[in-house]
């Protein structure tokens, strides 16, 4: 399931819902992304996430479908927030559920790596020196490329 929303989410509630009513599920893997208070050497007071309504949901659904093709998942969830967020705030939740841990852990790792390079979101940071757009990291491309080769 995909959700793109401004509001915060409750991790416990979301993970509990994911496995509810499916006793086949033996494990849930999750990744929670938070706003850091540093960007390079600068303090970050806040960041704003912009997205492309329509394409963002479409790409996330494609990424989720690809994870389900590669691993035997019983459930999966991606929640990504947009709008203005402050250090410590949750940005993203990726969760995968499977009968065994290997598939859940690998699929969760795959989803967050792939999401970072393919889902249309852009971060702008508020620093004491003013506002600036975050540049894409080549390490992120490298992380996604590994999965494409694999």
């Amino acid at each position: 399931m995909i959700r793109v929303q401004r509001e915060d989410f409750d991790v416990g509630t979301e993970l509990e819902k994911l496995a509810k009513g499916n006793p086949r599920i033996g494990g849930i893997a999750s990744f929670i992304g938070l706003v850091r208070d540093m960007g390079g050497a600068d303090r970050i007071d806040a960041l704003t996430l912009e997205h492309y309504p329509g394409m963002t949901e479409k790409k996330l659904a494609e990424i989720e479908a690809e994870a389900n093709r590669r691993w035997p998942l019983d459930a999966s969830l991606i929640i990504h927030r947009h709008g203005r967020l402050e250090p410590g705030d949750r940005i993203v939740l990726v969760a995968t559920a499977s009968p065994h841990r290997e598939a859940a852990l690998a699929a969760c790792h795959f989803l967050i790596d792939w999401l970072k390079t393919d889902a249309p979101f852009w971060k702008s940071e508020e620093t004491p020196q003013g506002e600036r757009w975050v540049a894409a990291r080549s390490q992120d491309d490298e992380a996604t490329r590994r999965w494409k080769q694999g």
Partner: protein, 83 residues
């Protein structure tokens, strides 16, 4: 054609969205970007280095040779930085 701009491309071009009629010589993404560059200093600045520009047609990533039509929704944006 409906064209959407995001992040610093939107800021440099000065609009989030516009409706444009394609000139007859524009057939593909590369042609579209070259034509947009000629529309003003904001466009020229935003599209100066095409290595930092991504294009989606009808909400799918495409390369420079992808054909474009007046009925398409085209989005132009920098590499993504979500997650």
């Amino acid at each position: 054609m409906r064209i959407l701009y995001f992040a610093w491309l939107r800021a440099k071009i000065g609009t989030a969205e516009e409706e444009l009629e394609l000139p007859s010589q524009v057939h593909d993404v590369n042609g579209l970007l070259q034509w947009l560059k000629s529309r003003g200093p904001g466009y020229a600045e935003a599209l100066k280095n095409l290595k930092t520009v991504r294009v989606a047609v009808n909400q799918d990533y495409v390369g420079p040779e992808h054909e474009v039509h007046d009925s398409d929704e085209v989005a132009i944006f920098p590499p993504v930085t979500g997650g």
